[in-house]
Symmetry: C2
Subunit: 593 residues, 2 copies
């Protein structure tokens, strides 16, 4: 297995050459002065070291050992405690946190790169701080001042961790039918009773306390999603001085045995009249949960990128080392018994597919993070526009990065042949680990429904037109550069194809309630391919004038060409499927399946 | 997890209504009288029971327990020994065997359906008899009369099993560079010395003896693939009376820890001067190995189908049982808290994708098996033509069925949401198990190179034209049926698209040695999609007149429509990638990856 080497060059290229991050950071009112390039560089370099030296080495052993559950107590694999302590000492839990409560207030554009590295080093470990981040976001956005002061500093430190308790055995996608109850008490707190499943980091031995954010229903709550409230329920109650008090009535009943992310504890949690506090308003728990979902969903997408990058690095090293058969053009290294397999066109196709999908994804992740930063730190029209872009692009990023994450890790395994199927090389673990990212935090099918429903049909395609305008502005700016024609012309054609599919779907939805759902997954993929084309065209626009200066830029331009020639054609097929409508799906009787 | 129910109706429909098997069986000279419909029906029904009652129940527990290796002894999981005994008692190991040595001589068209059921019930178990079959084929085709008499009856019985020993640590795809040595002895035997890896069933506790077929090099052998010979090396030497003699010098050094098929022992085998006998001619071992590869490669493809069918049955049951959210058209089952998820268009898309890919694959598998039977039991021109069809279609079947097998099992897992990621439901095991089928018996990349190189470019597309002529004959026969226009017209268009891509690739190969490899995998997939369109059109042609007679036929027609509307568009994108040529793959310097 190759040693993990963080792709700092690619990250810095995107941040500073493609997306002019420093300029944006200086300009955003809410961010002024908090970060400059020097700080950003130092942060990325530090995480690159931590990921390679501390997190990556426990990823394989963590998979082999897995988490253990004994009598309600969860134990993480060897080395996880020490790695978590090092992670927390480095202040990484505070990176994006609110400075008023001990956070560093860094932009997501930077955070996105940091997250990619953590996830390349291992999704299982990454999930512990990720869930804490998510809980902090929800508390910061919706909690009372008292809750924020009491919980956020310790959670940013990592001394206490966070968990999100949504799913119940009978209620996954459909949270409206949850049964967990919250009974108001005289002291302003609530008693929470119910069973939750699939709770990532619901219990573990890394942190001193676990702060659960639990969806539950008040006794008089309306039926359905409008009767759900959000509660903070700590594993240990917290005394007024901030020290830990008695154990709360929340227990881990078991952990799941899963396909992958085996070092991440997926807990069944029982709340037996546990003490909790309301976060946000009564019956607005789902909304509170969803305000932080955009951050988290991009984060899950980035898990897909991280695993893909790790798989690519391994596959590339293997393809350079493994000798097997000769090039179709004759022996390239006649002194060896065979040529390294990187000479074979199909092996190059596999590696370039990974490289192009990862590069496109990293660029799009940085682009979405830019809009997240503007929506958080910006003002007025600019902020409003950014919020709309975030709303539109988040489901694309979550689902497309992770669907392509499975493709990339499967390809990276295939490069190894039989050795890719054996556990010792680590390539198969990446496939198993990344597979969950297509499922949790809203399955990719649900992301696609969000994209076509709330984000597109509901506003007649207005959000889509915002995105299209940004692509069009790029096309207009580049259309006179002759050397850019190979990218700009197909990009314009694919944008038009996407626009036509969008308009057709919006129109069809007026008469056919099944139209959006029938188009959804393929529409999201079509959107993803066009968005990656936009990204690779932007990359090429910056890299083309510099190809003589540094071979890095040449590599970027050639990868962009590969993307346009070999991967973008997918858009044709997807548009045809989208345009086929719902008839062939709905016309077949249930019993004929 | 749903109980496995063999798709006997679909199998009988394909055998007798679509492919008129009984007529063919009566007509083939080498098969006359060996099988009729009644026998075939009985065989299928018996295997349906065995698969459901004996094999399926040990599949999940086999995965959890795995094989164990201790001091050179391999133990299979609980229940495997008993199931293997039952399997052998039923005579299943003899199904396709040569009747001269105790085989039943059944046609592959029937065998293909039987194999699908065994593999649906569990690939791990299936591999033990599969490898024995493969070894029997090689011995029957190339062994001396003495070897056949000595080994085949016991192997058909299953008392002795078989293993194929090809791969070495440094030599997988590139068998020309193997190092295992064979030294001739005075008694006509050979001493075999070397190390082999990835030997499926190389050792186990199911059979009394393991008969290895080993690739090795004689001391004076020419370099490369033309210096490889094939040897039979039993674990226990066999006395003249057929009883077992002393232990041979062949040992299992370890077993692999793998992503899946954990109940199948994947062995590292050490040959330390083991006694062996030549099979076939000196230095023609690879050719001997490959004469039985067509049978085996179709069999690996069928593993992909079997796992897909199992996953589909589970997903379908779950989609009918699991209630979650309401139909976009309003509540369908208002008395429940939510509707069963089969009402959602995207869930239907997932299920129909599985159904259409499995049905297309099962039809193509039966079609390829038909050509295998004609090539084995036929005569003259008919036989020659069938051999050509088999040569062309085998790599398509192996790679396309298994690539789509991964897609199908991933989809079947996705239908379950988070529950699909948990081990207890079995859906994730199917993903892990089926993944190996894309890798072993020649990776799917190698299958694609075989298709574009040896099978297409090398003969200027002559084999392709044979297949195209069969498709065209169907089109010509159906072109005047108005109700068939929705299938015949797009089929004709896609055949033309495939022809153009074929011609372009054949022409490009004259000047560019990288052209075939650059096109290979996407070309194979393009071929696969067009072949499935052919199959679904054939199915529709038979089913259309009967839709009022039985809803089964209606289901077939509607699935065909779904395939043409939603899946076949992939062909457009694949053709565009194929036609893009090798430039973007070869133009990028190795160090810029």
């Amino acid at each position: 297995m190759a040693e993990y080497k963080a792709p700092l060059r690619e990250m810095n290229f995107l941040l500073h050459e493609v997306f002019a991050a420093e300029e944006l950071w200086a300009h955003l009112p809410g961010l002024a002065g908090a970060v400059d390039r020097e700080t950003a560089d130092a942060i990325l370099e530090e995480m690159a070291k931590l990921a390679a030296n501390t997190l990556d080495p426990i990823n394989r052993s963590g998979d082999e050992e897995g988490c253990q559950w004994n009598d309600g107590v969860v134990t993480t694999p060897a080395g996880f405690k020490e790695a978590y302590a090092t992670f927390c000492e480095g202040g990484w839990g505070a990176l994006l946190g609110n400075p008023e409560y001990g956070g560093m207030g860094m932009p997501k554009m930077l955070g996105a790169q940091v997250e990619e590295m953590i996830n390349s080093a291992g999704i299982s470990f990454a999930l512990y701080p990720v869930l804490t981040n998510g809980a902090c976001l929800a508390i910061d956005a919706h909690g009372s001042e008292a809750l924020k002061q009491q919980y956020l500093p310790k959670m940013y430190e990592g001394t206490w961790s966070g968990a999100m308790d949504l799913t119940e055995p009978h209620a996954g996608t459909d949270l409206g039918i949850i049964r967990t109850k919250a009974e108001p008490q005289d002291d302003g707190s609530y008693r929470i009773t119910g069973s939750k499943i699939f709770i990532t980091g619901g219990d573990q031995d890394l942190s001193e306390n676990v702060i659960h954010l639990v969806l539950a229903k008040l006794p008089d709550a309306p039926k359905g999603p409008k009767g759900i409230s959000l509660f903070l329920v700590p594993k240990f109650l917290v005394n007024e001085d901030g020290s830990l008090g008695e154990r709360n009535h929340v227990n881990c009943g078991s952990i799941e045995h899963k396909m992958g992310i085996k070092a991440s504890a997926t807990c069944a949690m029982n709340f037996d009249g546990a003490k909790g506090w309301l976060v946000g308003e009564v019956n607005k728990g789902l909304a509170a949960m969803f305000t932080m979902m955009n951050y988290e969903r991009l984060g899950v997408g980035i898990q897909g990128l991280g695993a893909s990058e790790r798989s690519y690095q391994n596959a590339l090293e293997y393809a350079r080392d493994r000798v097997q058969s000769r090039s179709p053009a004759g022996a390239q290294q006649p002194e060896k018994t065979a040529d390294p397999i990187i000479v074979h066109p199909d092996v190059r196709r596999m590696l370039l597919t990974q490289k192009a999908l990862i590069g496109g994804g990293r660029a799009l992740s940085t682009y979405v993070a830019k809009w997240l930063d503007i929506s958080k730190f910006g003002e007025g029209e600019e902020k409003k526009n950014a919020e709309a872009m975030v709303a539109l692009l988040t489901p694309v990023a979550k689902a497309f990065f992770t669907d392509k994450g499975l493709d990339c890790t499967v390809i990276g395994q295939q490069v190894f042949g039989g050795h890719g199927y054996i556990r010792e090389w680590g390539q198969e673990q990446l496939v198993r680990d990344v597979r969950i990212t297509q499922i949790y935090e809203g399955t990719n099918g649900i992301q696609a429904l969000d994209l076509v429903g709330r984000k597109t049909v509901a506003n007649g395609g207005a959000l889509f037109e915002l995105f299209a305008a940004d692509v069009q502005a790029f096309i207009d700016a580049e259309v006179d550069r002759e050397e850019m024609a190979e990218f700009v012309q197909p990009l314009a054609a694919e944008l038009q194809r996407l626009r036509e599919a969008t308009e057709k779907m919006v129109a069809a939805a007026q008469e056919d309630p099944h139209a959006p759902g029938a188009a959804s997954v393929e529409y999201l993929h079509l959107f993803g391919y066009v968005a990656y084309a936009f990204m690779w065209a932007k990359v090429a626009a910056v890299a083309l004038p510099k190809v003589e200066q540094d071979s890095f830029y040449k590599g970027q331009v050639k990868t962009a060409r590969f993307y346009f020639a070999r991967l973008l054609p997918q858009a044709q097929a997807l548009a045809a499927s989208v345009n086929a409508g719902s008839a062939t799906l709905m016309d077949i009787e249930d019993e004929l399946f």
